[in-house]
């Protein structure tokens, strides 16, 4: 798992270096490697697949405009997720959000951390996780699902690694407590 992550990170760094040299193939490689994880991350903000797709394009345009700010061989993912987060937050700040929420009331898409899957059925976990505050959902998403270390999560969110760890721990504790409560009631 660790080796896979390292190899994946090295692949992303190679894509970024090529992309900074002006190679379209490397941009396409970066896009292919990151499209799905970035879409999942964007869903935690907008909860709407169409809007997430639009924001994904906006994210890659922003990445393109800021590509010189990536310094090899630093890890690529904290840099890209931080830009993605910024695009999502700017979108939420704009007036567009309210209209979308009214026009499209899809169920929230909050994926379940693998170690929680055994605690309850997916529907229950989905519901509980989607009711967590946004910062907690974000940390769980970045760490448990997208595989960023707490140090990287901290870099993305502009918080200390310890704070990210505490947020994730508290969020999982809250969900476990709710599950126990439900079990007790049943």
């Amino acid at each position: 798992m660790g080796v896979d992550r390292k190899a994946e990170e090295e692949r992303l760094i190679a894509f970024m270096i090529g992309y900074q040299k002006g190679k379209m193939d490397d941009f396409e490689g970066l896009y292919a490697a990151l499209k799905q994880p970035l879409l999942r991350y964007l869903w935690t903000f907008v909860r709407n697949a169409t809007v997430a797709e639009d924001l994904l394009q906006e994210t890659f345009l922003q990445i393109h405009r800021a590509r010189q700010t990536y310094t090899p061989p630093r890890p690529v993912r904290p840099w890209i997720y931080a830009i993605t987060r910024h695009v999502a937050l700017m979108h939420l700040r704009s007036g567009r959000r309210r209209k979308e929420m009214l026009a499209n009331d899809q169920l929230p898409e909050v994926p379940v951390p693998p170690e929680m899957e055994k605690l309850a059925d997916r529907a229950t976990l989905h519901k509980m996780l989607s009711e967590l505050p946004q910062p907690a959902q974000e940390v769980l998403m970045l760490h448990h699902l997208l595989g960023l270390s707490f140090l990287e999560v901290g870099q993305v969110l502009g918080i200390a690694a310890g704070t990210a760890k505490v947020r994730a721990h508290r969020a999982l504790k809250t969900v476990r407590a709710q599950l126990e409560e439900q079990g007790g009631e049943a």
């Binding site: 394009q57 310094t71 840099w79 830009i83 990287e152 901290g154 870099q155």
Partner: protein, 225 residues
Amino acid sequence: MSMNLLPKSLRRSILADLEPVRPLPPAWMRTLQAAAVAAAGLALAIFIFKLSPRADLEQLPMWLSWGCTALQLGVGVLLLGMALREAVPGQGVPLGAVVLGLGTAVLMQILVGIATWMHSPGMPLVSGHGMSAGITCTTHDAAMALPALVVTLWLVFRALPLRPSIAGLLGGAGAAVTADALTHVLCPMSDLRHVLVWHTGALIGLMLIGWLAGKLWERKQYENG
């Protein structure tokens, strides 16, 4: 694989501007650039305003005179470095470190002022001339800090600060602290009314200028984007 194909509009936009770019130097290297400009700015201001060390400098213990100057210069450069780190996505400074850095900057300036006043009363504050002396000192502070502030903000805004007002605040604090590092051995007055109003005021004012520059840049980006 077909799921990951680039949308046509995105491909067009990327191809329209796919020139090679040179990666931004690491934050420590940009900090050195800012520090070099800060040093040149300090030297230039001292030369232009013909400033000289305070007359009672020898009455002050070494740790308080040049020791605190070195310490403040170190803290100032550290704050400039934090501003430049903050300007790159994924390298944001944790909020606790921001608060600690800014708090240290202000507190250190006040404590150095109080310690200096306890060791030497310096030139007395002449009744009726407090404001003119204060304006002169604030002008010196601003002139000494300005080159460092300008170059730091320039380096910050040519990157991609995701919290530009925080980057500006740190840059303003860094520039102000490097200026104050020398001001406290140049300004002949120790009177706390003068130090706390005009010198601490200049420090806070420069921090606010950095913060405001960040806010304005953010608004401009938001309107353009």
